[in-house]
Symmetry: C2
């Protein structure tokens, strides 16, 4: 598959989670590959002046209803984590290391790992800001944890995440999820239907 | 009709316009009355720290694409106004005066006036921040303009708008459109489908 859907997300984003559970079906429909692009919303929010939804004045209560209703709409299990929002730098580094790995024996786990991390947080209620939890999630799906642990402390991996976030900001990625196809950006779980029509029609 | 859909909006909100073109069909389906509740997003943004979409860092270009795509999705004519965003205090006062008027010979125009103002701005490209334009729009649909002109300068009408905005903020209305049914809030043109399901199912 030569064409892609670039899927920008933060693990700390409920709508990133919901969309992650739906994007592969769409990608398969149009024979596209999903490129998982973990970013840090904290860095993005420094540019936009935004804040996590639940911490925004007037918007906190609404956000919680909206998460629950949107999950129900798509029949996706969602339990709002007790610890929210959280820092996701360890999980992001692990994801990037895997995705960019030269050996297919490691990179092949990327998609499964993304889902496993999201579900550990939004279904099992695990604190994925904890490096040990991230390592456990990886171990559970068969990833070599010694390699992963050293990767999360590797300067090159840290630099790769910084670069991924910088590139995202350069592309005006301002939230999660943001899906980019052929340079056209779609923001939000609630724009997957528009993305579907866009791909069906080949643009406008 | 005893049950209502409270429709909070700012005339300067493109998604408020799109939703205004769709909400009556939904209201009719569930035999509810639409209560038009014009608010000033500027006052709301002072509380939330937000800004108009097109002025937010990273989000400006995206917003323009999103307006156009969303209008196309619903087959609604949308021409992004040259002068955007604008102050809508005159149009809001006129709407409130009409809606709250004790005489049905005036209040009956409210719905038609809301649509006429929105379309003057997003279809005909008229500057509805101008009181004279608002008066002309009203005149075109048969409203007595002398009455309207004095109403827009009436202290009671000004106070009514301030009160309407205060009440909205108290209800945690943080954007446009916000639709509230039986105390359940739905934010955004893109939540009309969820609102539809909510009304169909009588809640969760």
């Amino acid at each position: 598959m030569s064409k892609t859907i670039d899927f920008y997300f933060d693990y700390s984003s409920p709508f990133g989670y919901l969309a992650s559970e739906r994007i592969e079906l769409l990608a398969a429909k149009y024979e596209r590959a999903v490129i998982w692009r973990p970013i840090l919303l904290g860095a993005v929010f420094k540019v936009t002046g935004q804040a996590p939804l639940t911490q925004m004045p007037l918007k906190g209560n609404y956000s919680m209803r909206d998460f629950a209703r949107s999950a129900k709409e798509h029949k996706i299990t969602y339990k709002h984590p007790a610890n929210f929002p959280i820092g996701t730098v360890a999980a992001c580094r692990a994801t990037l290391w895997m995705r960019n790995h030269e050996s297919e024996s490691v990179s092949k786990y990327t998609t499964e790992f993304v889902h496993a991390v999201f579900r550990a947080y939004y279904v099992a209620g695990k604190d994925i800001s904890d490096t040990a939890v991230v390592t456990q999630v990886a171990s559970d799906i068969g990833i070599d944890c010694e390699q992963l642990s050293s990767a999360m402390n590797d300067q090159a991996v840290k630099a790769a995440l910084r670069k991924e976030v910088e590139n995202a900001i350069e592309l005006e990625v301002f939230g999660s999820p943001m899906m980019i196809v052929d340079n056209e950006p779609f923001w939000g779980n609630d724009r997957i239907e528009q993305l579907d029509r866009w791909l069906a029609q080949g643009g406008w």
